[in-house]
Symmetry: C2
């Protein structure tokens, strides 16, 4: 023990961004991407010029999304490792591409970092990006590094492609459509609740905490669903199940009826909610950083979509209700048959 302390003096400060500077960091990240990231197609220009450049394929349209996470607001460093943070930041963007039915191609990464940020943490964040991008053979082709005076932030722009005319929007659900949802929305919200209530080291390995820290996207599933042509609308649940169902209803000019007893609740969530003295429903319906899909389709296509998704992965797909006329609003049908109007309250970033 003593020897290891002598070899690597405990007081040695880790190398920070202030030590190597912006261009030093760019060189390090460039090397890391070349060694561990996906290779660029021949006709693509990556990091190192005023812009990146790429060609799009004939017959395809391009999808583009951007999402930003801010330290203290969307994550707390004591809850999540730098690598998991990188994964999560990338997953939420991949999820947006997948929710339109697209395939991820390229990322641009804009980081705001304090000078005292350890270089190894930035490299770990990048390894998190790569871990999520490599399965798509997708590369980081550009970005920006800037010094932050306060909170660190990660802002990612992601580019995907989809066959022209095949993208699935939120504005095209019709009354009579069935509403499906993948997986178990609300698990991340419960995981965050646990992190806030229980010492981190005691719950780090809990499946709900892992659902929060390293969420999965359903981009492969979204891509397959779009290709099948069976979905009438699709969205991911980044604003919570109710919030995003609300977006579909707003944009499509429809209402929705949700059958309470059909809502998928994992046994982990049911158990944890009990211990935390919460209704599982609070987690399932409200804000939660899960990236599941809400899919609407004709009733006769429910089986087709379910088999398609379960042929790709083991995540469950649940029919939770139906699209109604706009005048009905969004209603929850409880166990005893009572209809309650529920208000979609997505995560509102500026509300008092």
């Amino acid at each position: 023990m003593k020897q290891s302390i002598q070899k690597n003096p405990g007081g040695a400060m880790p190398e920070t961004l202030a030590d190597i500077g912006e261009f030093g960091l760019i060189d390090r990240l460039d090397k890391l991407l070349r060694e561990e990231g996906a290779r660029l197609p021949e006709d693509t220009l990556g990091i190192g010029d005023d812009c990146a450049s790429f060609q799009s394929r004939a017959g395809y349209e391009l999808l583009i999304t951007c999402d930003c996470i801010v330290e203290g607001r969307h994550y707390l460093p004591r809850f999540i490792s730098p690598m998991d943070l990188g994964r999560r930041a990338m997953v939420l963007n991949i999820s947006d591409i997948g929710a339109m039915g697209g395939h991820t191609l390229y990322a641009l990464v804009s980081l705001g970092l304090r000078s005292d940020t350890p270089v190894k943490d930035v490299e770990a964040i990048y390894r998190g990006f790569i871990a999520e991008l490599n399965p798509f053979d997708a590369a980081i082709i550009g970005g920006n590094l800037t010094k932050s005076e306060g909170a660190n932030f990660i802002d990612i722009t992601l580019i995907g492609e989809i066959e022209s005319g095949k993208s699935v929007r939120r504005s095209t659900a019709k009354p009579g459509n069935s509403i499906l949802v993948t997986g178990y929305p609300g698990q991340a919200a419960a995981g965050l609740h646990m992190l806030k209530a229980i010492p981190v080291d005691d719950v780090r390995a809990h499946p709900l905490v892992q659902a929060y820290n390293t969420p999965s996207h359903r981009a492969r599933e979204g891509e397959a669903v779009a290709k099948s042509g069976m979905a009438t609308a699709m969205i991911d649940t980044s604003d919570g199940l109710l919030g995003d169902l609300g977006h579909i209803c707003d944009e499509s000019g429809v209402g929705a009826r949700i059958i309470q007893e059909n809502l998928p609740i994992s046994s982990a969530l049911r158990e944890a909610a009990g211990l935390m003295e919460h209704e599982p429903l609070d987690f399932v319906l409200q804000d939660s950083d899960d990236y599941e899909l809400i899919i609407t389709c004709l009733p006769e296509d429910v089986d087709g979509i379910c088999s398609l998704i379960t042929s790709l992965s083991h995540i469950p797909v649940t029919e939770i209700g139906a699209i109604t006329e706009k005048t009905h609003g969004i209603k929850l049908v409880s166990h005893d048959g009572i209809l309650r109007e529920i208000t979609p309250s997505g995560w509102d970033h500026f509300a008092k």
Copy 2:
């Protein structure tokens, strides 16, 4: 006077983001963009879904860049109005597209804002974006709004297009090429120096302060130069004249010889530098938030490029030196014929 105070009580707080929330702000900005921004092409999907989508033209490649400015780091609210801030943030991205020879098509805007930010300031920032995008008929098609706990920031991703194979890179300068520069690099640095030294109200209208607060891009000129095929390399001066000439030298594996007496110094800069007891050269060569172009070309194309640019605008184009072999480094030839090696020191965001 008294009456107007009664009508609009002086103590009334301006409406803030906390008052209208994220989705309220999105609605307001959406309306503003529809009323004042460029119209989207038929086959383009803008704000309102998981992703934006667009088609690229056959025979064209896409250019993409992203740049972020952070309050306190890249701007101080007391120096710049929200509208000018929006313009500047957009100009520096348009400049990157233009420095490859591209034409700006679409923007995505990611804002990090404190809850107490007045809504009218955000609208003014957007009007600044629009003022710079409308001349290109370019639209904002997506983005992200997030609450910032500390400094506000504006992160823009800009997409442009260029005929395939026509983009001009920084890595293709050759020994013997002439080095041209547009306009007067260093004016913005001098303007910032004045803002820091002199009460803001006294210098707000000074041309150098305006060069800092509302810089111009040379994207039209860059596009024309790329189309002509006469440039061997091109870059904008966002890291300062010397910093960006250094990028060309690094990426092209060459050196450069700069003739000191050829460096363009505006009379405003010369006069202000005298008053501030600085060498004009300090401003011209070092970090400066100007967005001029450095262009390298064969000596026989110098006249062609100069006439091309001056046919588009009244900005001067100056031949400041020549590309040399890498082993020569970057040298400055002073008035008395003495050669000095100078180190490109671009703006290094994390240096101690």
